[in-house]
Symmetry: C2
Subunit: 527 residues, 2 copies
């Protein structure tokens, strides 16, 4: 299958004329074939217009048909499994086994949203029958349910070229809700994006759905993304990436004449707390789990634990030595791009120059200079230093973590109080630890979207109860999750029908409940 | 009961030193006693700090106790019913019967949120048990539910001095979710605000709840409001009022280092469509209902129908004459403030100077000049003029509406397509009309939060299925409603507990379901 290296605009292929760019092989630092062509400003407009035209029809498509589309995308991705994994490996240097797992996860995610909309209860239908005899004034018949917002722009992440990219959670949930999607392809994996984009386009065609419900635009720079966010036909934005990128798009969208929601997941440092008895009882097991977690995907996960808090003492000294050994013995890690490598080196270098911050270990193996490889980096410091230098709490993308020793419970509570918003936090403790430090857990509830006990923040289950969100700066709106079925709520809004004839009501709101969904009817949950 | 005319900061009373101001009697245009004192900058900070300190404790208070508080506020408002209605009448010139109804609605709204949190299912608890045997990797135990955001600032509206003010829907829903509330009192009804604010404070004291969960600050200008929105401890803003005011606060909040949600309900023009057969069959009944609706509360409702679309012809000519008669026979209306009067006169005057816009009627009675009284104003135009002058679609606050005649179906669809976001739309039709014009209803779904058939947009039921929201500029975020039980979702966010010991879980997420709430457990809705 040859790559066309052009944008996808509905069922059309993008034109020539835009700036060209190539992906980079992170291992050799060499540019990869072919050359991709950035979308033109008029193509941004075409994609948005097509999406707007498609919305009215697609917004009313049944859950069954949307499910069919999502399932066809899943099965079609699996059908070209090898091709996708091969190209993604070339563009990201992520191990093939990891990419295979990610492709499986992407397909599973599409099927999860298919099930959700096939079942149909996600619209939270509410029905209240009229009461014309009510004393004060007659009560009207009221029925409400969730409906899609309109065209959604999705910015894929570099670190999950499948699960958080072209056919990732944002696209799956936006389509599931009934919104057309325009993806701005991440320039670090354009070939992977194109393969996946074509799968989506062919699936839409095969399902006989409107052309405009999917486009995917390439761009070597930022102008296409900005134009998409500013386009009047665009009604929401999903983004996964850096704080700088997410905030820039957020600011643009909020300054529009008509602001639109920007659901930006901007990563975080995901603090881990090791409580004293657990540290004593399971020290090396926790150290080993921590090492695996902060180097998973070369430390390029938004849930990477970048801060670890341990009580000062002989146990923490041994804990630090345990991690030290593993870091020293680790092979170099290939980062996604040379840009990420440069930032990683700079940020870890700066951190280690802070007084009272000690660089504990790096790999004993030499790191090839022509590639995006880096050595894992592991540092430690004390609570006073941590509390006086807020920059130490900032995310460093890549295989590194910072252990912070605290001497007193007071320090620990000060640390928790000082934390910004994070996606997740983890706490390791014994039953007695959890009893003594219950307040730590409770205070963390105000700081994060997810609390993990005796585990690590990496490994985000795609399921109904998952919350992959959290207070700013982890995300731009803590009221939403970008992973799990509830991610669909980001792209839907309620609408109420008052005294409407049954013929005009959507099936979800008809008295007979033809879809057999769960509904809140006259004060009772019913199906 | 003497008014203290000072801000309420937790259990304390505001200090002297701030700028003073008085409410105005809209009927006499005279300043009312007493003089109220604006909050000082340090008092803004005190209120925010108190709220932040109270949050941790209040956020964990049980639904039963929050319900108790809301019910006590309701009953205490009713206990000083006469005092409140008397003062509100003085400050707003709204008829006492209307204010009595509004007080009843306010109390009912508080009790509705009390019931909601006492019952408890609003937190959308989700439980997935672990599956350690899962093939790919063990599945963790995941449990999620909604939790409060933190201190919420509420800006009361001038047009509903009770139901959308100090103890209105924003305050009730924010408290119900477990958030401390700081109200910025509307300067047009400070005495009413103080009476209600004291009721809330006393109720909190009586319920032995933390002092900081309620403060109410006075200000003659905008600096207190701005300072509240910018305060780092404030986590969300609820606003009901003008587009200019809502947008200014929105812009401030979005430019914060850590942006916060602003739930602004900024009013709209709420188009009414009269379809041909209904116009023929029920012409004078619809004209009469329309007159009542656009003059209700002197036309100062955010759901006032400010645009009416009718098919051109003899029926519409008679329809216009029907309204003309009612307007001509109407007595002057007292607006809430002289500022609103000036804007009303200016805006209706400008509208009537547009070519092809005809001022059809105003009251035959003379309007007293020393007060905020105005005559109802009624104009008409044709579709071409309406479509070429977007300003004609803008909201004019006060007793006025604009009838637009359209000659063809094409005009009608162009009109619907041209509409901005509105809170509600109404369509009058016979069964045959609804069959022929079903597409009008469906297209309106993309434009509004609520569609009313054979009724008017005014009269917003406070209930589980209500949606008082809509696309921008009706609100700042179409995904929420500010009326009805779902308004609580504006001030809550999900949090997930992964593999947490039962002792650390909130009751809502314990296996035994001690609160007997509806939960989504391992793929099934259960109680």
């Amino acid at each position: 299958m040859e790559l066309l290296s052009k944008s996808i605009i509905g069922f059309r292929t993008g034109r020539a004329g835009g700036a060209t760019f190539r992906a980079e092989d992170p291992i050799t630092a060499k540019a990869l074939e072919p050359e991709f062509i950035s979308a033109l400003p008029e193509e941004v407009d075409e994609a948005a217009q097509l999406a707007a035209e498609a919305f009215t029809a697609f917004g009313r498509v049944t859950g069954k048909r949307k499910g069919q589309l999502l399932r066809l995308i899943a099965i079609s991705l699996e059908a070209i499994h090898d091709l996708i994994v091969e190209r993604a490996h070339l563009e990201t240097a992520l191990p093939k086994a990891r990419l295979e797992g990610e492709l499986a996860r992407t397909a599973q995610q599409l099927r999860l949203f298919a099930s959700l909309v096939e079942e149909g209860s996600w619209v939270t239908a509410r029905i209240e029958h009229a009461d014309l005899e009510r004393k004060s004034n007659p009560k009207p018949d009221l029925r409400s349910m969730l409906r899609p917002l309109g065209p959604v722009v999705v910015f894929g992440a570099s670190n999950f070229p499948l699960a958080f990219s072209v056919a990732g959670g944002d696209t799956a949930s936006a389509l599931a809700a009934g919104n057309p999607v325009i993806v701005k392809a991440h320039p670090a994996h354009p070939g992977t994006s194109e393969l996946v984009g074509h799968v989506i386009r062919e699936s839409i065609f095969a399902c006989d759905l409107p052309e405009g419900i999917f486009s995917m635009l390439f761009d070597s720079g930022t102008s296409v993304g900005k134009a998409l966010v500013m386009h009047p036909e665009v009604k929401a934005v999903g983004f996964t990436g850096s704080h700088a990128g997410g905030r820039a798009l957020f600011d643009l969208a909020m300054a529009r004449p008509k602001p639109i929601p920007v659901l930006a997941e901007m990563g975080s440092t995901n603090p881990v707390f090791v409580l004293p008895r657990a540290l004593r009882a399971r020290r090396s097991q926790i150290a080993s789990g921590l090492f695996t977690s902060f180097t998973l995907g070369a430390g390029q996960f938004c849930t990477k634990p970048g801060l670890v808090f341990v009580p000062e003492g002989p146990d923490s000294a041994s804990f630090i030595r345990d991690i030290e050994t593993q870091v020293a013995e680790s092979f170099p890690f290939f980062l996604l791009t040379s840009g990420i490598r440069d930032t990683f080196r700079e940020a870890t270098g700066e951190r280690n120059q802070e007084p009272h911050v000690r660089s504990v270990a790096s790999s004993q193996f030499s790191v090839p200079d022509v590639s995006s490889a880096v050595s894992a980096a592991f540092s430690e410091t004390d609570a006073a230093t941590f509390l006086s230098k807020p920059d130490l709490a900032k995310e460093i993308f890549g295989p590194t973590t910072l252990v912070v020793r605290h001497a007193t419970k007071k320090d620990l509570f000060e640390i928790v109080a000082s934390l910004d918003g994070h996606l997740a936090a983890a706490v390791h403790g014994t039953a007695e630890d959890f009893e003594e430090f219950a307040e730590v857990i409770h205070l963390l509830e105000e700081k994060v979207g997810r609390i993990v006990c005796n585990g690590f923040p990496t490994g985000v289950e795609v399921s109904p109860a998952m919350v992959h969100g959290g207070p700013y700066p982890a995300t731009s709106d803590s009221r939403y999750t970008s992973v799990g079925t509830q991610a669909i709520l980001r792209f839907a809004r309620p609408i109420c029908f008052q005294d409407c004839p049954a013929s005009l009501l959507p099936d979800e709101l008809k008295d007979a409940n033809p879809l057999k969904i769960w509904r809140y009817v006259d004060g009772q949950m019913k199906r």
